[in-house]
């Protein structure tokens, strides 16, 4: 048998996405054009939301050469009035994959800002044309970058960078990509119009390749309250997340450089002269309460080595081994490593130990997780069989797995905090629906927050009936985190819930002029597929959707029966107005009278009396 040698090599994130672009919705020219529109529009809306700016979005799609048949090259431009991007971040933000500002835990349309770079990447690989980014972050200067992406190195290649004066902030991104508007057009127009429905505080303009303009003006001037970034919920973390959290919270030994030494001297008030170690420690003792944590740590290390600032400048702390009470450092002057003993009796020992081993489990739980108080934390420690004073920095791998496991299983944690969610709110939703559909009846509901697997979510729903809605049966508009979901309707949980509803119970018959708007907000929408077009049927989610739907359906039923009663009364009045004069006419001739009887009274009575069966 011949032996073969496998070659292992690292690939860049750009290259990874390039090879797996199907996953992100760039499988063909039709889908890619649609996905690109979505990514840019959603980025713009998210940016405006974050800075509480009423969004003004301009989207345009122009054929590079309109004579060519589809699929062909299109210029896609999305312009907003958002905060813009600081020019120094632009090359990285738009020229590398996995560079983003959305890694926090709160509701946003896109995650990580990956999609926009994917669209740029897709444009570049299909047309070999650069992306043009125009940004004004300070309201004075407009920076224009023309860039290509170095896929293998995951680095931007700036072809041109110019600046000029500008009047207001905003961002405009323009790419050239291969697309098929003849096929994607319907979806894109649906997307834009439905986006305006769920974003009634935005003004959106779309200019299509034929030059036709679709303008959706702002319906409400108030923005819904912004979501706040929050700490994770205990049910929503796995071992890896836990490990990262511990590293984050872990108090690191600060890097000792000139800047750090300046800081120490400044806090001690010893900038000028060179002081002896003894002077330093005396001064530190006096000012201890006012010293910052990194400074205290540096002082502690210095005390064990009994050194001054001159000497500190020449070493690098390599390891603080609290368990073995040793500090290892590298001496630049001598070019060799040293180890010093640490006296556990020293007042500085505790400072150092705490710093390295991190917080106690109790502090970690109460400080790093949402909605965990000391009582719950104590209970949890008992449940998980950990000592509450155990330092999280001292946990072994097995202990971490055990901890993560217990966090999932312990059921006395409070439900996740919904303040990280940004539902639209009943009033804007209602206004949007009324403006959008001009119905005869509309009702909306925002359910209380609920959670699945540690992720909070809120269901908002609206129903509209009659008016300008065509009597073509129930039409469902699905949204998740203010994004319209247009594909894969059939397998969606919302559709499942709707299909399980017996509409005849709510006096809705035949093909009613009925519209349902469903909006699910969550820090993590449980999508069924990477395409993010249909939501999975989690039981908690299904229950909330069902409750919302039933509430609205009951409202509709009340409206329908009111309308029924009004119609009945009208019908009554019409019937009596029609028939009583006829009866009078017949009776007059039958009885041989000349003059008709006075039947006016009866017509009025007839329309007033209650229905009797």
């Amino acid at each position: 048998m011949s032996s073969s040698k496998e070659i292992f090599s690292q690939i860049s994130p750009s290259e990874f996405f390039y090879r797996n672009r199907d996953l992100a919705g760039f499988s063909n020219p039709t889908r890619s054009l649609y996905t690109s529109v979505r990514e840019f529009v959603e980025n713009s809306l998210d940016a405006c939301d974050q800075k509480r700016i009423l969004p003004d979005i301009h989207l345009s799609i122009k054929a590079a050469d309109s004579e060519q048949p589809d699929p062909k090259h299109y210029v896609l431009t999305v312009k907003d009035n958002g905060p813009g991007v600081d020019p120094k971040h632009i090359p990285l933000a738009f020229g590398t994959v996995l560079y983003g500002s959305k890694f926090g835990l709160k509701q946003a349309r896109g995650m990580f800002g990956l999609g926009a770079t994917m669209a740029i990447l897709y444009g570049q690989i299909t047309t070999n044309k650069p992306v043009t980014v125009k940004s004004c972050a300070d309201g004075k200067t407009l920076d224009e970058f023309v860039m290509l992406l170095d896929i293998q190195k995951n680095k931007p290649v700036i072809l041109k960078h110019t600046t000029k004066e500008a009047a207001k902030s905003g961002l405009s991104v323009s790419i050239v990509l291969e697309g098929d508007y003849s096929k994607a057009g319907t979806k894109i127009r649906d997307y834009v119009s439905q986006t305006s429905l769920i974003t009634p505080y935005a003004s959106i303009t779309f200019e299509d390749p034929s030059g036709e303009k679709f303008h959706y003006p702002r319906i409400v001037k108030e923005m819904p309250p912004p979501p706040t970034a929050i700490k994770p919920h205990s049910h929503g973390v796995d071992v890896e997340t836990l490990r990262r959290m511990i590293v984050d919270t872990h108090y690191q030994i600060p890097a000792v450089d000139n800047k750090m030494i300046e800081k120490v001297r400044k806090e001690l008030g010893m900038q000028k002269k060179n002081s002896s170690p003894k002077d330093i420690f005396n001064r530190a003792e006096k000012r201890w309460a006012d010293l910052s944590r990194p400074v205290r740590t540096i002082i502690a290390v210095m005390s064990f080595m009994n050194i001054d600032f001159e000497r500190l400048r020449k070493i690098r702390i390599d390891d603080v081994d609290v368990a073995n009470k040793k500090i290892a450092y590298w001496d630049f002057g001598e070019s060799q490593s040293h180890i010093v003993e640490v006296d556990p009796e020293s007042t500085y020992y505790k400072q150092l130990a705490n710093t390295v081993q991190g917080e106690t489990l109790l502090t970690f739980l109460t400080k790093r997780f949402q909605r965990v108080g000391p009582t719950t934390a104590e209970k949890f420690c008992e449940f998980a069989k950990f000592k509450s004073e155990k330092r999280i920095g001292s946990m072994t791998n097995e202990e971490l797995v055990k901890l993560a496991d217990a966090l999932q299983k312990f059921d006395e944690f409070l439900a996740p905090d919904p303040s990280c969610l940004a539902p639209l709110g009943e009033e804007p939703l209602s206004k949007g629906i009324i403006k959008f559909f001009n119905p005869e009846f509309a009702a909306v509901i925002q359910r209380n927050a609920s959670a699945y697997s540690g992720f909070p979510f809120i269901v908002e729903m609206g129903i509209a009936y009659g008016g300008d809605i065509p009597p073509a049966g129930l039409k469902v508009y699905r949204f998740a985190n203010r994004i319209p979901l247009l594909y894969d309707e059939g397998s969606d949980v919302v559709l499942k819930v709707i299909n399980e509803t017996d509409w005849s119970r709510y006096k809705v018959k035949g093909d009613p002029p009925l519209v349902l708007v469903s909006h699910i907000c969550s820090t993590r929408i449980p999508y069924k597929t990477v395409g993010k077009e249909n939501v999975a049927d989690r039981p908690e989610l299904e229950r909330e959707l069902k409750n919302a739907l039933q509430y609205l359906a009951r409202k509709l039923a009340v409206h329908m029966s009111r309308q029924g009663i009004a119609e009945m009364a009208k019908k009554r009045a019409n019937l009596y107005a029609k028939y009583v004069p006829l009866i009078a006419q017949f009776a007059t001739e039958l009885s041989g009278k000349k003059k008709e009887p006075n039947y006016k009274q009866l017509v009025r009575m007839g329309s007033e009396i209650e229905e009797q069966i």
């Binding site: 028939y579 006419q585 001739e589 039958l590 009887p597 006075n598 229905e611």
Partner: protein, 368 residues
């Protein structure tokens, strides 16, 4: 010569007309006054539901029981049908006053001139039956006739009352095809006859044969073609011949359960017309063809169908079939499970039925 006595001689048809008109006026006045007083008018309609149809042994016919339903203009769901009924009364009043006649189909269309919409003809037909029940008069008196017509032939002098023919007399033996029993004949006065018998026969073909064979002369008979189940105008004429001219009525029908029932309906009416009197001839006699005749006269037969047999079982539950010849023949039919038509006598020659069978049966009927 049978002559009606003087007092009722020209008045029978006229009297009925006047009775109807005054009844209509009375209803009209009632409605008029209700409207004037701000009261919702209503009609009391005798219930024609199955529960309210009972057999009256004394009258020897089905009649309606005492249950009534009220159709009120107060009730929105009845307002439309109330108005339809009021319209029909109004329209009938015009028809009768002006001496015009109309058909069931006509009524359906006439309503549209007055913004009274009937969904379909069954709906208007139903309103007509309602008015019959309210006024206890058959629709023929309203001058409303069905499409089907039967005929009469024989020595009977009538006097027309219809406009343009008032006072004109006709003898019904003048035309060999017979006279249609239509509106003018139904409203005519029966003046004079030399006949001593009325023979009602189920089939037009045999009616013609009877005329050709001079049955009317040989038996001094008025011959009536019922054309199957006798229409109400025909039954009404038979009754008048029996009542006003005291002529006995005999019936000849096919030798099957349906033939037997045709005879029974002429004699005692149908459940459908339980709200009406004066459509029956209680003394009418069923001559045949009986089940026992089929064997006795060795008639060619055809087997009964399932439906025929089921019909026998149904009729056995009817109170009128509980005795006498009616009961006996039903049982015989059931045993025989075969039937014979009137034409079956042709096996023995075309005149066999008039020469042999009819005289024999007339003789036999005397003992019934």
């Amino acid at each position: 010569m049978r002559l009606k006595n003087k007092s009722s001689r020209t008045k029978t048809a006229e009297a009925r007309k006047q009775r109807l008109l005054s009844l209509l006026e009375k209803h009209g006045l009632g409605i008029y006054e209700d409207l004037d007083k701000g009261k919702f008018p209503q009609f009391v309609v005798p219930s024609r539901s199955v529960n309210n149809i009972v057999y009256d042994k004394k009258l020897r016919q089905y009649i309606l029981g005492s249950a009534n339903s009220v159709r009120s203009a107060r009730n929105m769901s009845q307002l439309r049908s109330y108005t339809q009924l009021a319209w029909l009364a109004f329209f009938v009043n015009r028809l009768v006053k002006e001496g015009k006649s109309s058909t069931l189909r006509d009524i359906y269309y006439s309503s549209q001139a007055f913004s009274i919409d009937f969904e379909d003809q069954p709906e208007s037909d139903n309103i007509i039956v309602d008015l019959e029940a309210v006024l206890a008069s058959p629709r023929e008196e309203f001058h409303i006739f069905p499409e089907e017509r039967s005929s009469v032939f024989g020595d009977l002098t009538i006097e027309y009352t219809v406009p343009g023919y008032e006072g004109k007399r006709v003898n019904l033996s003048d035309h060999p095809d017979g006279y249609l029993i239509g509106p003018s004949l139904s409203s005519a006065e029966l003046v004079d006859t030399n006949a001593e018998l009325v023979i009602a026969i189920e089939k037009g073909g045999l009616f013609t044969r009877f005329v050709e064979e001079n049955v009317h002369k040989k038996f001094k008979a008025i011959i009536v073609d019922t054309a199957g189940q006798a229409p109400r105008s025909t039954r009404n004429l038979l009754r008048r011949l029996n009542n006003e001219l005291s002529l006995p009525v005999v019936i000849l029908a096919d030798g099957d359960v349906y033939g037997e029932h045709i005879a029974m309906v002429i004699k005692s009416g149908s459940a459908n017309a339980a709200h009406l009197r004066e459509l029956t001839v209680p003394d009418a006699k069923w001559l045949g063809v009986w089940a026992t005749d089929i064997e006795k006269y060795k008639l060619p037969t055809i087997p009964m169908t399932e439906a025929d047999i089921k019909r026998i079982y149904d009729l056995q539950k009817d109170p009128r079939y509980q005795e006498g010849i009616w009961k006996k023949q039903l049982e015989a039919f059931l045993k025989l499970k075969r039937k014979a038509e009137l034409e079956a006598f042709s096996k023995y020659g075309l005149t066999n039925i008039t020469d042999k069978y009819l005289p024999a049966k007339l003789e036999e009927s005397k003992s019934l």
